[in-house]
Symmetry: D2
Subunit: 360 residues, 4 copies
């Protein structure tokens, strides 16, 4: 890319997901942070004061003193990343799309909307075609979403099996990191040396989102994949990385070795696009029986790799294994950034000024 | 019981399971600790020196200065509890049975032996009839075992469903406490803020032991129950209490309400025996969606209750829920003590001296 | 006590400290819970709904369905325990004392008031004489406070040394449990595998409160003890129990053996009063170098014992050692209950009705 | 350095410290790993099999398949780093020095030897002159050590104060990470939600090592600094980073602002040498009251920075503050690597072959 960097806005820039966007975009080769937008409470303050910074690396110096602006439909940027909480994301993202902004959202609100792509670039890059059916498209605005963090780990692990053998039924139990609940999130008196066997709304998302992502685009619509999924979700005292124990019933018989081969040899269909945030490979398969572990492997591929281990026969279904996904990178901000990179390559994201000029 | 207390020996008294036996037997109404037996390294020392005591309550004063004796076939007691590790338990327990000692064992070695009961008093109290087929029986010796800690939680939760509706297939994922690995056990650098998705041998035990426990006694033999079980076992940074996420396929259709009722109204078939360690009820069913939690509920019923929560429909099987079992009490030492209490009521355990006198 | 139980109200009954009061008073031989008072948000609800119960034992059944009432000056009880947060405690406690209620408070607001006892029964039981100087005394009301949780551990450990050798200077560094911050308190993302080297206001309290507690009552006033104290306070990922590393400069030279003897042989001056909550002994001295530990020893003496360990020479002062105090029992609710028990024995607490009748 | 890289051997390469050496040297601009030496049990195996790798990044590919060799005096390298445990380090390091190898050691055995530098390059770079007095020097061998991990944090924080105001007395309480105990190290049943108030030998090292490091070289000998230090050392459930609470009595009066300025403006005397591992600045001073925290700041300066916070007046001494040091990088392997870099610049480390040739 010899072009100038695209100028991005971050909605909800002071929250936990917003901070992750700031971290990931600080040195991005294609994007530069131009707008930090947050609630009125934060607006007007320098970012270092407005954000209760929870990262382990310092606030990137180039944004530390940048002023946080209120969320509005007059943001000075080419497109926005939304790290808004679901309680407000639905309405705000809708307004921005209407105002002509591409919205790359991590929020759940529009994920299941028929004309909104629920996008994992390595899996369903063609689903971005749904954008054309969005009502705001004419004015330059649209919405693209990434899936729930646990969904991402599951779908990335399932996809090579879906493609190679077909998948009909899935049992998955998650052991999810504390960071998934944001900040302040889970009280330490609940989390320390404990498990909480419930995460509101999570099991429903895992049962439905994969069907859309793995669905086929037919006549401009997504036909959901015919896979039954049952999820049980738990919060465990881990900082980053959702571990998932997955049992799979295949559509056609396959040995454990064939399954391992399908996972190990999987090559991303978008590898040629050389997206800066795309990991290579997407899947890292471990042979050591006690791997992958969240604390040791969540950061693989700068948090964008999905790790797989313990591939073995299932006494009830066909095969079982564990998958690990970095929930705040691949499963949230990093996934959204990768989505944006795909959209650049596909021509959906470009300098907005040119557009505006063109309109004039 | 107006009789004098039975005098018990503890094999492996200085280990993690042995310490739990000491704790549970310190004030037992029917049993008194008469022998603390351990490896030659510990023998000859007072218990307080020999044992690296890991409990949160102090060493019971009545055993603190008792001398640890070497393991032999000449222990001064009526029967023994075995908290030996599997590497030595097989041979030693065999020798003691042969020497005329009833052996109530927590070790895995003889669990699947055809003539050894794998006993949970509330579920298969009739399986003690297998004792009669043991070769050492004539001399007064026999072996009775309790199941693996995770198996106990699973089977207790399944049993009312097996009885009421029948069960054909089970997926279970465990989140197991650190204490299950004994002491020193899991290094803190592996455990802290992490999950280890592997526990050696655990999944195999969970797949096979329940079939024996839930089996029927026919012509003096156990016919294993025809249930397919697939287990995925994880170590989590929790101190006590294994949590299990269970999905069940029933033999005949039932609503979630019927399943809940079967679990909630289950009454132990041995309630009338009034065994001192038996919890009442066996199962505690929670309605709060975020319960049960290991840190908050493992100690229910002095660690002998199995807690159930989140009963709900399964998208793939029929019903799913979580179960929680205190792994070192109900799942180990406490389960063995309850087994011994049942054997007292059934007449299998009595003062050995009388036996010896009678033989003379 | 053959008298009927005194009827107590708990202010802030739904909070973390209030819940601890409920737990400790559920089976108290002298007191019974008659009023659960909390903010208007909770008032009118049954306790089980109003309180987000965080204990590891279930809500005591006798209060689970009791209605929470709003805080007012017309509470149907003989005296109140205050578990209010400092933001509201000052005013409310003042009003209740004025309305004739004895207020046994855990809040910090009135601790340093000249006419309010800052009471540890084993140390300064005579300080209750300050009550006579309180302006509300005529109407039957008064305020008695217990110290900050960390102060309690420090002062209990210092007192035998103050009495025997005199103490002039103290350095103390605390490692404090999460429960000290209440609920939701410390976010798990801050607490997990981390230390926070700051607890607002704690170091100031530790520098000043001990001087009042260890002070002498002269002419109805407390002359503060002349001890310099420097505290450094840290939050560590522990559930219950503040550990304190203490270095002491004595007024007159003493060997480590003399110091150990002073701590080990210390007998509470109120032992004869046989207060139900008083531990015996107050101090438990450990010889094992790696004890005491919060997880293993905080519960000693049902949480009312202060544990001491690692007594050894100090290279800079005279002696150093560690102390451990259960912060929510001895350091909060349990300390307040013990204060009330002393006040019963001293005649300050009695059935209020008799008072009211007498007034009429 | 346009010269070829120096070829280094790592003694104890499979242990926890050895692994950290491997990590830090994998991409070092001046050094390349040529020998991985370990006990006979590991010798002959490829490194990936011999080492139970505990890092969060994968084993560097260039050493993964390298064969581990037994420790001997015929290692094919220019000098060695020693990550040996103290139980064997003394003798082996001695033999290697005698055989002509420069030994840059992290072990404690020779630290206090009169002719061995106890080196922190930013503080006492001139102490390397002691090398000239070592008996092995003629043959090309010598020993240089780095201090105990906790000592490093303390001394780096004290040094600017020693230089500017003088320091006479120090109280320090440490909260030390689990990684300091190596692997398997602290059992998780001891570490989880707990503090262990004892670390064998640690307090003695903190009382004595700083006096040597801060001492003056007079007539080829180190005159220890006249500072009294009292340390209390605790193990806390943190993965990396020792936090230290320090109170200091100064030789001449200074305000908190002067102290802060001394720490903040401190510039390393070896900054001009541009050592690759040297952090800039050495000290990072935080103003936020709840910083530094081990989990958030231990990695600052790639683990080589010492963080300071909470500078404030001390009620007993003059000033108190907290310091944080990455115990396995700055406090162990990283400190040793920095020592080696200084020795290169000072001419003590060079290709051994040239030496050998010269001898011939």
């Amino acid at each position: 890319m010899d072009q100038p960097k695209l100028r991005v806005g971050i909605l909800g820039a002071t929250g936990a997901v917003g901070q992750k966007f700031v971290e990931l975009l600080a040195d991005h080769p294609w994007f530069e942070i131009s707008v930090l937008a947050a609630s009125d409470r934060s607006a007007g303050k320098p970012y270092r004061e407005a954000a209760h910074w929870i990262g382990t690396r310092p606030i990137p110096p180039q944004v530390a003193d940048q002023e946080v602006v209120p969320i509005s439909t007059e943001l000075d940027c080419d497109f926005v990343f939304s790290g808004l909480s679901a309680s407000v994301a639905g309405e705000i993202e809708h307004q921005l799309a209407e105002a002509g902004y591409p919205v790359i959202s991590n929020a759940r609100n529009h994920r299941m909307r028929e004309d909104v792509p629920l996008l994992i670039p390595e899996i369903n890059p063609d689903h971005t075609a749904l954008i054309e059916r969005q009502p705001w498209r004419a004015r330059g605005g649209f919405i693209v979403t990434n899936p729930n963090c646990s969904t991402v780990g599951l779908v990335c692990a399932l996809y090579p099996l879906v493609k190679t053998f077909g998948v009909t039924q899935v049992h998955v139990t998650t052991l999810q990191a504390l960071s998934g609940a944001g900040y302040p999130g889970v009280p330490s008196l609940d989390a320390t040396a404990n498990v909480i066997p419930f995460i509101g709304g999570e099991e429903e998302k895992m049962a439905t989102e994969p069907r859309k992502i793995l669905g086929k685009l037919v006549d401009g619509r997504v036909e959901p994949a015919a896979i039954q999924i049952s999820a049980q979700c738990n919060r465990v005292p881990v900082l980053e990385g959702h571990l998932e124990c997955i049992s799979v019933k295949l559509a056609r018989a396959a040995s454990v070795e064939e399954v391992r081969a399908a996972l190990q040899t999987f090559r991303s269909p978008i590898a040629d696009l050389q997206l800066p945030t795309a990991p290579d490979p997407l899947l890292q398969v471990f042979d050591e029986p006690h791997f992958p572990q969240p604390r040791r492997h969540a950061e693989l591929g700068r948090g964008m790799t999905v790790s797989i281990g313990r591939i073995r026969p299932c006494e009830v279904f066909d095969v079982k294994f564990v998958a690990l996904v970095h929930n705040t990178i691949r499963g949230a901000a990093g996934g959204a950034v990768l989505n944006a990179e795909l959209l650049v390559r596909q021509g959906y994201l470009k300098p907005r000024r040119s557009l505006i000029v063109a309109e004039a």
